[in-house]
Symmetry: C2
Subunit: 325 residues, 2 copies
C-alpha cells in the first residue's frame, strides 16, 4: 500500500482514527456502545466480572515477530481467559490504545481486525464496546474485559481442598516453546528481532505464542461441573499452581504423566492461558487430570512427588531486560 | 529517602510491587476484589457503565510538573468524570500501570495515594478493585472506571432539543490556563520542562490542570433533574459542544455572559472535566446556565450569536509534538 493510501495516525484527527477502528469492530451489542462518554452494558445477574491486562512493545511483544492482527487477537485472548477463569462469560472489551504518531493506519486496521476476530472465534457474545486513543512513544494496548457469571458463583483460586483432582484445559508449553524459537531463531547477530517468515508463522508453537486460543467456553463448563478452584495459567504451570496452593492453603501434587512427552516447557513455560482447575467430582469434558490436591505440606507444589521451584515462569520485573534483544 | 529504602521496581518482584500498591488502596468494596484473575463487582440494576482513559508520559503529563500523587489523582478524576457524565455513580476502578523498571517504589506509593484520595474525595463509593502491572519505557496509566445508573436512564450526548437550556457544572478554562502557565513559565531555554515550585503549585489554575476535581455527584443530580443530554467537557467547551450538537442534531447557542470575565480559555481550554448538560426544565443546583438549544442551523455552535471554530481544543493526534518541550 502506498503512503498516500496508508497515512500515519499523526496525519489524521483522533476522530478519523476512531472511525477507522469502529468500522472494523462490527455492530455493538451494548445498550449504549462506543461514541458517548461511557458504554452501558448489560449485567444480567446484577454483578459484573472485570479484568485488565496490558501488552507493551518490548516486554510483551516485538513488531518484528507480531503482526498488528496478532496483537489485537492476543490482547483480546489473554483478557478473555481471565474472565473465563472466574467461570464467567465475556461480554465486552474496552481497548485503550496508545500509539506512536508515525503508526500507519493499516496497522490500526489490522489491530481492530484481530480484536474482532478473537472475540468472534473465542467468545462470540463479546465485542469491543469502548476505548481510548492516545499517542505514546511506546505502542501499548491495555484491554479491559467484562463478563457475566449468569447466576453462577465465581470460581476463585482459594477453593481447592485436599482430595480434589487437579485438571487443566488448553495447551501447556507451546507458547513458551514458541517464545524460545523466536529468541533462538529470529534475532540478528546483535540480538535484535528479525521478521518471522510466513511458513514458520504457521508453526504450532509460534501460533500459541503469537495468537493464543484459550478455551474460553470451558471456564463456564468448569464452573457448572462444580470446579472448587480455577485460574488462568499465564506465568507457567508450577508458578501459577503455587499461587493457587497458597490461596487455598493446600499442596498441589502434579504428575508429569499428564503433561505429554516434553513436560518441562509445560511446567515452566509462560503465556499458555490454559485453565487450571480443581474438582471434587468428575472432571468435565475438555479438561484432563494432571494431579491431585493434598494437605498442605512443606512445599506448595510437588511434581511427581518432588518439590519443583517452577523456575522458567515469567516475572516482568525480574525477567525483562530491555537490552537483551 | 535513601536508595536502599526506596528501591527501583526492577529490583522487586511483581508481587512485591503489587502488595505495596494494595496496602495503600484501602479495603475492597467488591464481592471479589484484587487478587484473583478478575474482580466481581455489584451491578445492582443489571447494567454497568464502563469507560477507559489513559495518561501517557509526554503527551498527557510531564514528571517535572506532575507528582506521582497528582498523576494518580488525575487518572482517577478524568475517568470518574466520564462515568458522571452518563448520570451514573462510580463504583470501581481498574488500573493498568506500565512503568520503566527504574521507577522508584516511593513513586508507586504516591500514585496509589493519589488514586485512593481522588476516589475518597470525589466518588466515595468507588475504589480500585483490580489492575495490571507491567514494565514499559513510557510511564502509562490506563484507568477503567465502572459505574452504576441505579435505575436511572443514561444521559447521552444525543438528547438535546431546541428550547432546552444549556448549562455547565464545574470550572471552565482554569485547566487550560494552568497548562499555558506550565508551558510559559516552567521550561528551560531548550524548552524542556522544569519543576514547579511548591508555592506556584497551589495556584488555582495549576491545581485545575494537575489535580482536577470534576463535580462527580452533579452527574446524578443532573440525571435526576431530567437532563436531556450531558457530556464531560475534556477538549474545550466549543469543541465538545460541537460534538453534542452533532449527536443531537441541533445548534447550541452559548452566551459569554455566563463564562466569567475571561471567556476565551473557558471556550477553548481543554481538560476542564466540567459537565455540559441540557435541561428542558429548571437547571439544578450546581449548574449555571450558559446558553440555549436552538434548531440546527448553519453552525453547530454559536457564541453570542456568531460562529466559533473552537480552536484551542486539544486533539492528541493533531496537537502533540514530541519535540516541543
Amino acid at each position: 500500500m502506498d503512503a498516500a493510501a496508508d497515512p500515519r495516525v499523526g496525519e489524521l484527527t483522533e476522530g478519523a482514527v476512531l472511525r477507522a477502528i469502529l468500522a472494523r469492530l462490527g455492530p455493538s451489542r451494548a445498550e449504549i456502545g462506543p461514541g458517548d462518554d461511557a458504554a452501558v452494558l448489560a449485567a444480567p445477574d446484577g454483578r459484573v466480572v472485570a479484568t485488565v491486562d496490558t501488552l507493551v512493545h518490548g516486554p510483551d511483544f516485538r513488531l518484528a515477530w507480531s503482526s498488528a492482527y496478532d496483537l489485537g487477537w492476543k490482547a483480546a485472548a489473554v483478557n478473555l481467559a481471565d474472565i473465563a477463569a472466574m467461570g464467567a462469560r465475556p461480554t465486552a472489551l474496552l481497548v485503550a490504545l496508545a500509539m506512536p504518531d508515525d503508526t500507519r493506519l493499516s496497522f490500526v486496521h489490522g489491530l481492530a481486525d484481530g480484536l474482532r476476530e478473537a472475540c468472534e472465534s473465542l467468545a462470540p457474545d463479546c465485542s469491543v464496546e469502548g476505548g481510548d486513543l492516545t499517542v505514546s512513544d511506546t505502542l501499548t494496548i491495555a484491554v479491559t474485559a467484562l463478563g457475566s457469571l449468569d447466576g453462577r458463583a465465581p470460581v476463585l483460586r482459594s477453593g481447592a481442598r485436599a482430595g480434589d483432582v487437579v485438571a487443566v484445559a488448553g495447551g501447556l508449553g507451546a507458547a513458551g516453546r514458541g517464545l524460545a524459537k523466536l529468541f533462538g531463531r529470529f534475532r540478528d547477530a546483535a540480538g535484535r528481532p528479525i521478521p518471522v517468515d510466513d511458513v514458520t508463522r504457521t508453526d504450532r508453537d509460534l501460533v500459541a505464542q503469537l495468537r493464543p486460543s484459550p478455551p474460553i467456553a470451558l471456564g463456564r463448563a468448569a464452573a457448572d461441573a462444580g470446579a472448587t478452584a480455577m485460574m488462568d495459567v499465564s506465568d507457567g504451570l508450577v508458578l501459577d499452581a503455587t499461587r493457587m496452593a497458597a490461596a487455598s492453603g493446600v499442596t498441589l501434587d502434579l504428575d508429569t504423566a499428564g503433561l505429554g512427552d516434553d513436560p518441562d516447557p509445560a511446567l515452566t513455560g509462560g503465556e499458555d492461558h490454559a485453565l487450571l482447575a480443581t474438582f471434587a467430582g468428575a472432571v468435565p469434558e475438555g479438561f484432563r487430570t494432571i494431579g491431585r490436591v493434598v494437605d498442605r505440606g512443606a512445599h506448595p507444589v510437588l511434581v511427581d512427588g518432588r518439590p519443583h521451584d517452577g523456575r522458567g515462569g515469567w516475572d516482568p520485573y525480574q525477567d525483562w531486560d530491555a537490552h537483551r534483544g
